[in-house]
């Protein structure tokens, strides 16, 4: 079907049908909440993993990796730093599932992660080393640089052009970028993606997980907003 030919009555019908589907998809054990999300305000959040200096760095870096603008939420609006703080306290940050026995040897990149540092340790060392580099070069920490300076430095970290003490700049940046995108798009149950705003921006329906009636309606935009695992609707 071509979306240009969808008339109003058909659209109303499909919207009505989707309410039925979404309710059944949620199952009986899920609370349906019509309220806005209860996610905390980032400004009120007290980080558990990061210390104050680290937190300032993470807030500033996330704000450059996914800045706020008219296209959609920035990483700070989406509570991404809160997500990262939780992840680094948890199994991911501690590399709980990873094989972390030595010896740790240098290897070609194709052989994968060979650092003795957990992601949490990589952040701690990476932030300290980046701020030390900024102090030396600009006389202030990363969070106090201009947006242009921050972007330039992040680019240098990503390409490994800046050498940091005790930690790979590129590995540090890769974790930071990976976790920022995760926090932007993961279900809000993990602390980021506040109000499912990132899902709304791209049109991902989240945890709806039931689309049989839509499979062969081709080239028709899906009209329903997202739902989250906790039953919030966007």
């Amino acid at each position: 079907m071509d979306s240009n030919h969808t008339d109003d009555s058909r659209r109303r019908f499909m919207k009505g049908a989707m309410w039925v589907i979404s309710a059944s998809a949620l199952g009986s054990g899920v609370m349906l909440s019509a309220n806005a999300s209860t996610a905390p305000e980032l400004s009120q959040y007290k980080p558990v993993f990061f210390n104050e200096a680290e937190w300032h760095f993470v807030l500033a870096a996330c704000d450059r990796l996914i800045p706020a603008d008219d296209n959609g939420p920035g990483a700070l609006q989406a509570n991404v730093p809160l997500f990262i703080d939780r992840q680094l306290q948890g199994d991911f940050g501690q590399a709980k599932d990873w094989y972390m026995k030595g010896p740790f040897l240098e290897a070609p990149a194709e052989l994968g992660y060979q650092s003795p540092l957990t992601p949490a340790q990589t952040y701690q060392k990476g932030i300290a080393a980046t701020d030390a580099y900024c102090q030396k070069t600009f006389g202030k920490v990363f969070a106090d640089l201009s947006a242009e300076q921050q972007d330039a430095l992040l680019t240098q970290l990503q390409s490994g052009q800046v050498a940091l003490t005790d930690v790979s700049a590129k590995q540090f940046f890769d974790f930071l970028l990976q976790n920022t995108k995760e926090g932007y798009f993961a279900d809000p149950i993990h602390g980021g993606n506040k109000d499912m705003a990132a899902w709304k921006m791209i049109g991902f329906p989240g945890a709806r997980a039931s689309y049989l009636e839509w499979v062969d309606l081709h080239n028709v935009p899906y009209p329903m907003g997202p739902v989250s695992i906790n039953g919030d609707r966007g």
């Binding site: 599932d97 993961a186 695992i229």
Partner: protein, 590 residues
Amino acid sequence: MSRQEQPVDVVLVGLGWTNAIMGIELAQEGLNVLALERGEDRDTVPDFAYPKMADELTYGVRYKLMAKPAKSTITVRHSLVETALPYRHLGSFLPGDGVGGAGTHWNGHTWRPMPEELHLRSYVEDTFGKNIIPKDMTIQDYGVSYEELEPHFDFFDKVLGVSGKAGNINGKIQEGGNPFEGPRSSEYPLPPLKRTLNDTMFSDAAKAQGLHPFPLPSSNASEAYTNPYGMQLGPCNFCGFCERYGCINYSKASPQTSILGALKQHKNFAYRTGCEVIKVNLSDDKKTATGVTYIDGNGEEVFQPAKLVVVGTFAYNNVRLLLLSGIGQPYDPVSNTGTVGRNYAYQMMGGATLFFKDKVFNPFIGAGSNATTVDDFAINQIDFAKEGFIGGSYLLAAQTNGQPIHSLPLPPGTPSWGAGWKKAAKDYYGHSMSISSHGSNMSYRDCYLSLDPNYKDDHGLPLLRLTFDWKENDLRMTQFMKHKVTALAKGLNPDFLKVSFKDIGTHYDVRPYQTTHNVGGAIMGTDPKTSVLNRYQQSWDVHNVFVLGSSSFPQNLQYNPTMLVGALAYWSAKAIKEQYLKHPGPLVQA
């Protein structure tokens, strides 16, 4: 001194697809069967229940259902002269864990091998001459034919409830199916899944080039279905959380949904979880196994006596268990002696992403096996002498999920972060489709598995070491496919096209996901000098040990392995029931 358990007739090591099959087939014979599973117990409810499965971060990115490298991993190197290093976190392949194994988190692609693939060396030599096989390529025949396996393919199709369209029924070509497949004795149990937009676009492009598109054979059920064991499937609802997830909906065939519910009804079957088998115990003359030794959930070492041992763990873990147990002679690529670990192979993948500003694909409407494919470039369709390689691929346009953390393709040149990245994510999410190639990988003298000299697991036992790299033959094959895929993609006139195939000289990279189709190392064959198992997957050396899984493949198929893995398990079960139990001993004389 180990604690000792009561003896059983049969001990199954691992409880995924192969040992679910062996378990029910031998339990039906009245044997006392015990399965030992290293991981945790898992079932649709509560482990795969909605809504918790719809969590991309936990299951799709952090791999909650997969084997944890902290507990079990391998080391990897590219050549004999390097020091192998651990695969510290998952990337290239995702071995399963727990009851159901990788059979819980697969996509459900359910291909039979081509008849030619089961006797590949003979096919190549007979058709093109011995000289086209490169000197260090060690491809072999399986020792079992497509015709012998056909009844088991057919039965496993029915156990899985495969949705598809046959292309060849008893030699008669069927419109709308794969005209190049081996003859099938019956149509698929269920009709194909509904088609998404990418399917119809690919199908049109393929037909325009004279190719033969057909629906990918799917173990995501298109309709309600009851299998021969009485297990029931519900129709797949295209939830978009299939690969890496357990099925919320009893729609994806898995050991749980297809077999285990029926198997657990047998009073002569039992299983224990959290029990990691570390050794198959052998008699003094090393000709028979006496049982297995495992570490239980409390860390206690236990000896489990058994008359028959069936090893059915994830492919390369089978090889490690044989090496740790001293079954067979370890393979040495330098002297070219021994067999255990020989002929490891992987899978050669490539793909293109097509971006269309004015097309809406709704990528979150996905099923693991929602795909349209062509097999015009299959192993039995390519002139190897003319093209200069041995191998083949099927091409597919699949739409399995639209999960934005790991499935967010963006046009070439898009920045990886910042305002430009965000704008591209907004503009192009849901506006792309893919065309991929899924291809064979041959076996080579220096691609093999052995015990690692440096790295150990929590029990102090050596990790398995993989020595593997891409070879020119297989890279040439994927370059051939690149041209075919690019031509199909260009036929659809995308606004942007991103093409990604391995170039000549590319080294194996453990980081990006490729496939979990690791094969070989405990291969079946006709000669004990070049195979670990005989044609019934029975150890040449220890006759009451059978080893099931893709570790039996002497080289990799161009297809996904599960159908052959399952059919071979049924083939072995038949041999055990009809021959071995009556006369325990080697089923083939060495």
